[in-house]
């Protein structure tokens, strides 16, 4: 296949019109831990598996879901360290916006700027694309919003989406379960059920992470005991 001759250089198109490095980045995302997001009528929930390499790891110190601004949160699938770089840059951009306009940054604007950063790394010399896809959940004047940003820098607004290992099963499950007038609590239950579908082992408050934002416009990560409560409701 002629493509493989072009797969070493990010900034060279292959004859089939692809940037093969980006395809590889998407593969890296696809082998990362499952994460998903659901937009409800009155909020957004994002969730992810938190499979740690060993039982000796202190799971309280690991936080995959991060807050970007008080009303915007993010989760990733793929390479953790890459996501940290993006979180850092996004937080800075959000703060710069606030410094200029004394207003919280709208979700769309932050997503656009983050996506622009990711795109930069697909068109510069000597760098590689980010090996993460992000799910950005926020609540601003336009209501609850959920965006997915890919390593290529393209972004989409979703009602519900999943990424990572179990993506096709998870998306099929979400397609069946999603309704437009779902409320936030229902969405959290659906998120848990979707994660459970592809989960290896026993699901508990310590090996998944859930972040929610409701009409109070404050993004927060649920504590393990809150997750346990939801898990019991689901049983």
């Amino acid at each position: 296949m002629g493509d493989s001759q072009y797969s070493f250089s990010l900034t060279t198109f292959s004859p089939s019109g692809k940037l093969v490095q980006i395809e590889h980045a998407l593969t890296a995302v696809g082998s990362g831990q499952t994460s998903l997001g659901i937009k409800a009528s009155n909020g957004v929930v994002i969730a992810t598996e938190k499979k740690l390499p060993s039982i000796l790891v202190d799971e309280a110190s690991v936080q995959k879901i991060q807050i970007l601004t008080p009303n915007i949160g993010v989760v990733y699938s793929g390479m953790g360290p890459d996501s940290r770089v993006l979180v850092r840059k996004s937080r800075k951009q959000a703060e710069q916006y606030h410094r200029l306009y004394k207003e919280p940054i709208p979700v769309t604007q932050l997503v656009r700027e983050t996506a622009a950063v990711m795109q930069e790394f697909t068109q510069s010399g000597g760098v590689r694309p980010f090996g993460v896809s992000l799910l950005v959940a926020g609540y601003d004047d336009k209501g609850p919003q959920l965006y997915q940003v890919d390593p290529s820098g393209s972004y989409f607004s979703w009602k519900a989406s999943a990424m990572g290992k179990n993506v096709s099963n998870a998306k099929t499950f979400l397609e069946k379960r999603y309704t437009d007038d779902m409320e936030l609590d229902d969405a959290v239950h659906t998120a848990i059920l979707t994660l459970k579908e592809g989960f290896e082992g026993q699901i508990s408050g310590k090996n998944i992470e859930i972040g929610i934002i409701s009409a109070d416009k404050k993004f927060r990560v649920l504590t393990p005991s809150e997750i346990e409560d939801y898990l019991q409701e689901v049983e």
Binding site: R99, L100, Y101, K102, E103, P106, T108, Q109, R112
Partner: protein, 204 residues
């Protein structure tokens, strides 16, 4: 002579009941010589946001062009008009960027914000904002304007009465200032309409 007094200007903005008025004089001078009697000091950023720029005329024009540029891009990106409070923060930031070589302008910003609530503010040449609930003034005639506004202002005036009050305050103040005058330019803005009137005062 101070650089702020090179061209001469008078600006005032007042808050009324669900409306605001912003007024300026029309003289453009070069120290003692009058060179224009129809100079525009108040600009329209969008239908519910006005900015008046007093001080050095060339800096006022340049600053206005930069602000229009920024607002146009904002409108394209965010698909909405800027709120007056946000615009005021932007003007303040742009002025402070030039902290050690400032624009010699004192802006007066007036607009209708969320729920059409009137908003006015002024700032100094390096962006120190001064918010007010009643009136703000700027320019070479500012001291007289402070006095006239303080005496004539009443809260919650309707558009007609507000127009009368701001016009009287402006005309009586510029009469005490040799560098501003030659008539007045008044905009009265309500949630539904914008009225623009030219005043004829002492033409000197």
């Amino acid at each position: 002579m101070s650089i702020f007094e090179y061209n001469g200007s008078a600006l005032v903005a007042m808050v009324g009941k669900n409306c605001f008025a912003i007024a300026s004089d029309r003289r453009l001078g070069v120290q003692l010589q009058t060179i224009a009697t129809d100079f525009q000091r108040i600009y329209n950023i969008h239908p519910k946001l006005f900015i008046g720029l007093s001080g050095l005329a060339s800096d006022a024009q340049t600053l206005y062009q930069r602000l229009v540029f920024r607002h146009k891009l904002y409108e394209l990106r965010e698909e909405r008009n800027m709120k007056p409070e946000t615009f005021a923060s932007l003007v303040s930031a742009i002025q402070y960027e030039k902290r050690f070589g400032p624009y010699f302008c004192q802006p007066v910003i007036a607009g209708l914000g969320d729920d059409d609530k009137p908003f006015i503010c002024t700032m100094d040449a390096i962006g120190a904002k001064e918010l007010a609930k009643d009136f703000v003034v700027a320019g070479t005639a500012s001291e007289s304007l402070y006095g006239a506004c303080e005496a004539m202002f009443k809260p919650d005036m309707e558009a007609e009465e507000l127009f009368e009050t701001i016009s009287q305050a402006l005309l009586s103040s510029v009469d005490r200032d040799c560098l501003s005058g030659w008539g007045g330019h008044v905009y009265v803005v309500t949630p539904t309409e914008v009225t623009e009137k030219i005043l004829k005062g002492r033409m000197d």
